[in-house]
């Protein structure tokens, strides 16, 4: 069964460093999303992406965040200068054009900023 994959599973970085989180969505999906979950809190929407551009972004998704689909398979989230409060689980999701546009989630990347 097709699935969304994410790498790395755990990333540790120093405050102020740049990180890139990678996702491989399900191959025939057209809509891509990033969500984050600070430990013990709810899952929050960051950004949606369709047709090589951002469809919607939340207040959290400020200038230090960017997304890119550099080739036909990867979908990346870049955090330019990480802060302590960026420590969270980051989930990628993708959706096709059928089945209620159900979003399929990847296993997440745990980001720890020291």
């Amino acid at each position: 069964e097709p699935e969304v994959t994410q790498t790395p599973s755990h990333q540790v970085t120093q405050m102020g460093q740049e990180v890139i989180l990678r996702c491989v969505p399900i191959s025939n999906h057209l809509y891509f999303y990033w969500y984050r979950q600070i430990l013990g809190q709810k899952v929050e929407f960051l950004v949606s992406f369709y047709n090589n551009e951002i469809s919607e972004k939340s207040e959290i998704f400020d200038d230090q965040f960017s997304v890119e689909r550099p080739d036909g398979s990867n979908f990346t989230l870049k955090i330019r200068s990480t802060k302590l409060e960026d420590s969270a689980m980051y989930f990628c999701a993708s959706a096709g054009t059928f089945s209620y546009n159900e979003q399929f989630f990847g296993p997440g990347t745990r980001l720890t900023v020291l």
Binding site: Y31, K42, V43, N101, Q103, P107
Partner: protein, 115 residues
């Protein structure tokens, strides 16, 4: 903006018993989708069940069923014959019908299934 509220931070149920998790939401939309996601300790987000607001019939998936009350904006999840593997965080989520629309999640209910 849509909001989703889960008023039960934690619940416990004995194996083989039935438990109901509550969720309410607020929206001005007339059509939308509602979901329950399960998040086990691995933190993977797993879709449990979904409901389309224009369908009056409550969705059912094996031991999982919902009680969807559109007028009350209520969407509860019933788990029958609870199993130890049901132990997880459960998140209620809302999405409008736009094709690229985001999911809006509640704060979650931690369910513990005991022997």
């Amino acid at each position: 903006a849509q909001t989703v509220t889960q008023s039960q931070p934690e619940m416990s149920v004995q194996e083989a018993e039935t438990v109901t998790l509550s969720c309410t939401y607020d929206t001005s939309e007339s059509n939308y989708y509602l979901f329950w996601y399960k998040q086990p300790p691995s933190r993977q987000m797993i879709l449990v069940i979904r409901q389309e607001a224009y369908k009056q019939q409550n969705a059912t998936e094996n031991r999982f069923s919902v009680n969807f009350q559109k007028a009350a904006k209520s969407f509860s999840l019933k788990i029958s014959d609870s199993q130890l593997g049901d132990t997880a965080m459960y998140f209620c989520a809302f999405r409008d019908t736009g094709t690229a629309s985001k999911l809006t999640f509640g704060t979650g209910t931690r369910l513990q299934v005991t022997l």
